[in-house]
């Protein structure tokens, strides 16, 4: 089992992006997916960093793929999506629009925002050229096990969401703009004010969701700290680590140590709690009554609810 760093979901300025990917070169991760996945309006601000980051990461021996946008509606988004096929790197498809421009048989990766819930879908994608699939975070362990086994037979590497605020929803509406009383078309890029998204609590102060432009994430950071053994046994090949703004290299180190058996689940969780935004973890989609649930204990400073 190894680590994949997913695309950054948040809006960071170019200098921050540069430092982030330079830092990843030395991190114990096997591959990196980068590019804009949430909002095409952000891309011009940091687009020039992509080529540099790709160069740095390839030189460091990482596999690199470029993500498609997750919800493609505008003409320029369609053009940009079609142009991905010509970059010469694998595409991580996060909207099926990207497949439209991809010649059949050209290998591609499938991101967690594509609905791969069952064998029929995985088989179809594999036949179309998928070589790596990060399953949707919503899937329970028994589904993961079925798909990881089938992936093994089909020659598709199956990975799961290992760490990061969960991408729960996408909308036509921008919630950041709405919270600032702006229209989406004149959003003034207010999502850039919140490098890990803007938190949304319930009326009783429960830490619930996080908005990031048109995206809604969980406020808890999902972590497979307690699930490494069962996922490995299920045949999962890789864990996806989703970028956050602070301590990211240390987080990658900690997961690598956990996979290598140098850290226990509790030790990893204890390492993570002070580092993740908001200090809350969850793993309920994989093994729990609901996504927000966490397998760890209250001593990790992570009690559910208030």
């Amino acid at each position: 089992m190894d680590l994949t760093v997913g695309p950054n979901h948040f809006f960071w300025d170019a200098a921050t992006v540069r430092v982030f990917y330079q830092g990843l070169a030395a991190a114990p991760v096997s591959r990196v997916v980068l590019g804009e996945v949430v909002c095409s309006k952000r891309l011009p601000f940091w687009q020039d960093e992509i080529a540099t980051a790709v160069e740095v990461l390839l030189a460091a021996g990482k596999d690199v793929a470029i993500t498609s946008l997750a919800l493609v509606t505008l003409k320029r988004e369609r053009k940009a999506t079609a142009a991905l096929a010509e970059i010469g790197l694998p595409i991580e498809v996060n909207d099926l629009t990207a497949l439209h421009a991809l010649p059949p048989g050209q290998p591609f990766w499938v991101g967690p925002l594509i609905n791969v819930y069952n064998e029929g879908t995985l088989r179809w994608l594999a036949a179309r050229g998928a070589v790596r699939v990060c399953l949707p975070p919503e899937l329970p362990l028994d589904s993961i096990a079925v798909l990881a086994r089938l992936g093994h037979d089909l020659g598709v590497a199956v990975e799961v969401w290992g760490h990061g605020r969960l991408p729960l929803a996408l909308s036509g509406r921008c919630y950041h703009a709405r919270l600032h009383d702006h229209a989406k078309d004149s959003c003034q890029f207010v999502c850039g004010l919140d490098p890990d998204g803007r938190d949304v609590e319930t009326l009783d102060g429960q830490k619930f969701l996080t908005v990031n432009g048109v995206q809604t994430l969980s406020q808890s950071t999902a972590s497979m700290a307690w699930q490494i053994e069962v996922l490995r046994e299920a045949g999962v090949i890789a864990l996806r680590i989703s970028p956050q703004s602070v301590d990211f290299a240390e987080i990658c180190d900690a997961y690598a140590d956990r996979i290598a058996g140098k850290l226990t689940a509790a030790e990893l969780a204890a390492t993570l709690v002070p580092k993740v935004p908001g200090g809350r973890l969850s793993d309920g989609f994989v093994r729990g009554p609901a996504g927000a649930h966490w397998s760890g204990t209250a001593t990790e400073g992570n009690r559910h609810g208030l």
């Binding site: 099926l96 609905n115 994608l125 927000a292």
Partner: protein
């Protein structure tokens, strides 16, 4: 334009057809459809009778099989497609790639519509579904403006169907796991959103509190109407702001956009509400049928009848107007 009406029960199906629905849509009573609510939907005998009733009156029946099959349990979804064909359905409404591929291979003569749950939001991806799986109609996701719908129709050869009335998803459908984050039950996997089984009400000093999976969704003062605690319509706090962060507790009402949607090249107008009573369905269908006929004849919209439908309800035209975003 064709009016596509909800039928959550055999009685609602008959009421919709009698009220003038050209087409009804319904589902089997299990997790294969996205309105898997207790007491709703059709067993196989009811579906056969419903199809016979509709066909006898010149109406069509679409069967929604629009959840995403569970790994290891695809047989239930495959059986639903086979049964829909055997029972005489005019089309199936599908979202999952694997199911679309299965239906195209094993039931090539059964017409396939792409569910809103597939969130196909541009001409490229719609053409991809049409070319790859022989999809004949696409139900558009509720993230598009009327102008964008018109632009899409200029670049595709398949029909489009859009929602005009009823419950409103704020998120791109089929790509939302907010409900399962709070409750473990999701539209994609279980055909439910914010399920009643996970709702609790409590009389508290601040008012009637509605919680979903333990998360407070809203609190209403005594005597105020308490909306159902649908997660994305809840009242939350962010920073120093408290309010409906995602959307107010409103429903969709695009009746006034019927002429614009017709000009945009839309084939069918869809009414949400398989969970609604047969009396509600009949009234909505009658009003919309009148509106569509007026539109086709170039007469003004029957304002009074349409206004009556949304009486006492907060309504929005949602993403159809650009300012909503």
């Amino acid at each position: 334009m064709e009016l596509v009406c909800p039928a959550g029960t055999p009685a609602a199906l008959r009421a919709a057809v009698e009220a003038g629905a050209q087409t009804v849509y319904c589902g089997f009573a299990d997790e294969t459809n996205a309105r898997n609510f207790p007491g709703l939907n059709f067993d196989r005998d009811e579906m056969a009778a419903g199809v016979a009733f509709a066909h006898g009156r010149g109406a069509k029946v679409l069967v929604a099989i629009n959840t995403f099959p569970h790994a290891g349990a695809e047989a239930m979804w495959h059986r639903a497609i086979a049964d829909a064909e055997t029972l005489g359905a005019d089309a199936v409404i599908l979202a999952d790639i694997g199911l679309l591929a299965h239906a195209a291979t094993h039931h090539p003569d059964l017409r396939r519509h792409l569910s809103v749950q597939a969130a196909a939001a541009n001409p490229d991806v719609i053409n991809f579904y049409a070319e790859t799986f022989g999809v004949k109609r696409v139900v558009l996701p509720r993230v598009l403006t009327v102008d964008e719908i018109a632009a899409i129709n200029r670049e595709i050869d398949v029909e489009t169907e859009v929602f005009v009335f009823g419950g409103l998803c704020v998120m791109a459908e089929g790509r939302c796991s907010l409900s399962s984050y709070a409750t473990g039950k999701s539209p994609n996997m279980n055909g439910v959103c914010s399920p009643a089984s996970h709702v609790d009400y409590a009389e508290e000093p601040g008012g009637l509190t509605a919680r979903l999976g333990g998360f407070t969704i809203h609190r209403t003062a005594k005597g105020q109407p308490a909306p159902y605690p649908t997660l994305c319509k809840g009242c939350f706090t962010s920073g120093n702001q408290t309010g409906h962060v995602f959307e107010d507790p409103v429903s969709l009402d695009a009746t006034h956009l019927i002429p614009a949607l017709a000009r945009a090249g839309v084939t069918a107008l869809k009414i949400e509400g398989r969970q609604r009573s047969r009396a509600y369905v009949a009234e909505v269908v009658r009003s919309f049928r009148a509106a569509i006929e007026a539109q086709a004849a170039g007469r003004p919209m029957p304002e009074a009848a349409l206004a009556k439908l949304s009486e006492g309800q907060a309504a929005t035209t949602g993403a159809y107007a650009k300012t909503w975003r």
